[in-house]
């Protein structure tokens, strides 16, 4: 049991607990705040895996920007239990089935990863080593090997921005 393991298990427990609280909380604002805690825990995991850039960008983009907008909308609409639309029972069932399928596929991937003969994939997680997550290596990889997917995703973002402007201009 090293310090790394203690951090890992603490963050894992924190992430799972707060993810549960996101679903359980009655108040939408509480849900959003628990979701922010989840992002922090996951960023902690990224740091343990030496992916500092990913960790901090996760915080800036999700915890810092997107969740602020979520909170913004929830506060503006003043959502609470009374105004929440009642969901149909079938919707809940389909949600459970979809979530279950996802869980199944993820656990299958993890199970297979342990059984493969490849040396690298024997470890589920490379902790505290490897330097692909450092910003310099990541940037070089993105702009050489993965430049086409990178640029295509940037075009995707641009189209989303243009779409938002068009919708905003309509009124």
């Amino acid at each position: 049991m090293s310090l790394l393991h203690i951090f890992f298990w603490f963050l894992t427990a924190l992430a799972l607990f707060s993810a549960l609280m996101v679903i359980i909380s009655k108040n939408p604002v509480h849900s959003v705040l628990w979701l922010i805690v989840v992002f922090f825990a996951i960023s902690g995991h990224y740091i343990l895996m030496n992916a500092q850039f990913l960790a901090i960008v996760n915080l800036i983009v999700y915890a810092g920007a997107i969740m602020v907008l979520f909170l913004f909308v929830i506060m503006l609409l003043n959502l609470n239990k009374q105004t929440e639309p009642q969901k149909h029972i079938w919707l809940k069932f389909s949600g459970i089935i979809a979530g279950g399928c996802f869980l199944l596929s993820v656990s299958n991937v993890i199970y297979n990863a342990q059984n493969t003969t490849l040396e690298l994939s024997k470890k589920a997680v490379l902790m505290g080593e490897g330097n692909i997550g450092l910003i310099e290596n990541l940037g070089k990889k993105l702009f050489t090997d993965y430049v086409i997917p990178f640029e295509i995703s940037s075009v995707l973002f641009l189209s989303a921005m243009v779409g938002a402007v068009v919708i905003g201009k309509k009124n």
């Binding site: 049991m1 604002v29 915080l59 800036i60 810092g64 602020v68």
Partner: protein, 354 residues
């Protein structure tokens, strides 16, 4: 279970450094409130606070005692836990920035080299950006939990203002990063010690960064979240006692931290102007590091004075003016600055050939 392998001396050293820095920033913030009132008094041609102690020097302590001893009120329909969490978060977020700011060179104590920076991480500037974007939660949670429509309006204003100005701030930062080629603040200061300060290369970028820092700290002319003529008192209307004190205090700490970041990014950080720091270190040793700390503190004080000067000179913007400035002037300017910088950096890489 084996004994945890931790460098205990390093841990103690860092802990001591953290405690010193936090108490120092709290102390400076305490006297910044006093300085604000004195500067306002001088600009408005009146004496200012002068009752407690000589020249009113004990005024902040008196204010602190007043804040602590006032009655604490939690409104009946407020969300109690979030109401308490809000000011705490605001305070934590504003203090978190000081972890990555280099406050000076290295000190040699008991044959150990102590770096006067708590964490020299290689993503320091992104860390600061993350903390700044988290700072808004303290205000949002507190304002929403008070269950008061004026607080809520102030919160919505604060959030939209922060998000709008973060964009321009980030774009002006990119230009600095392209010039220095690093995200580590310690490395940036070392580069500026060797060459010129970044303000020489990035005057426009600094101007944009400065204006955005004003907006992020909710300082005049961008203090719309606390526009008392429109919103009664702003997001902390329902707060009393030390919880209110925390909100007011967090604003001053934010000011100190953003001044420190500006000094580090654009004005050479702890670099002593017109002096070769390395030579000074060989001649007077540890004293050079202390001089460096004094130098960065001086730079911070100058910035804080400019913040106050602006506050007591310029009237507040109207809300649509604020948004127009942010989206239609600041962001295009920052983009322009970024493109020009990228062009020149590229030219320099190619040896000034097209």
């Amino acid at each position: 279970m084996t004994v945890l392998t931790i460098d205990w001396i390093l841990l103690i050293e860092k802990l001591a450094l953290i405690i010193i820095i936090i108490f120092a920033s709290l102390g400076i913030a305490l006297y910044t409130t006093f300085a604000e009132r004195k500067v306002a008094a001088i600009l408005q041609d009146r004496p200012g606070p002068n009752r407690a102690g000589p020249f009113g020097i004990l005024q902040p302590l008196a204010d602190g005692v007043k804040m602590f001893t006032k009655e604490e009120i939690i409104p009946t329909h407020a969300n109690k836990w979030l109401f308490i969490l809000g000011p705490g978060l605001a305070m934590v977020a504003s203090l978190m920035t000081c972890a990555v700011i280099p406050w000076g060179g290295t000190i040699e104590l008991f044959e150990r080299k102590i770096n006067l920076q708590v964490a020299d991480v290689n993503i320091a500037i992104l860390y600061i950006f993350a903390v700044v974007s988290l700072g808004i939660y303290g205000i949002m949670i507190g304002g929403w939990a008070s269950n008061n429509k004026f607080s809520l309006m102030a919160v919505l204003r604060a959030a939209s203002q922060a998000i709008s100005y973060e964009l321009a701030m980030g774009l002006s930062l990119i230009a600095v990063l392209m010039i220095t080629g690093t995200l580590s603040l310690g490395e940036m200061v070392k580069q500026q010690q060797a060459g010129y300060w970044n303000i020489v290369y990035q005057p426009l970028g600094f101007l944009i960064f400065f204006i955005c820092a004003l907006a992020e700290c909710n300082r005049t002319p961008f203090d719309l979240p606390e526009a008392e003529s429109e919103l009664n008192f702003g997001y902390h209307q329902e707060y009393s006692s030390m919880k209110l004190g925390f909100y007011l205090f967090a604003e001053y700490i934010n000011m100190i931290m953003s001044s420190a970041v500006m000094a580090t990014l654009y004005f050479g950080g702890y670099d002593i102007p017109f002096v070769d720091d390395a030579k000074l270190f060989t001649s007077i040793g540890n004293w050079a590091a202390l001089i460096q700390v004094a130098v960065i503190l001086t730079k911070i004080v100058i910035f804080i004075f400019v913040f106050m000067w602006i506050r007591w000179t310029i009237p507040r913007f109207r809300y649509d003016q604020l948004m127009n400035l942010g989206w239609k002037k600041m962001i295009p300017l920052a983009l322009f600055n970024m493109l020009i910088t990228a062009f020149i950096v590229l030219l320099k890489h190619n040896g000034w050939k097209f």
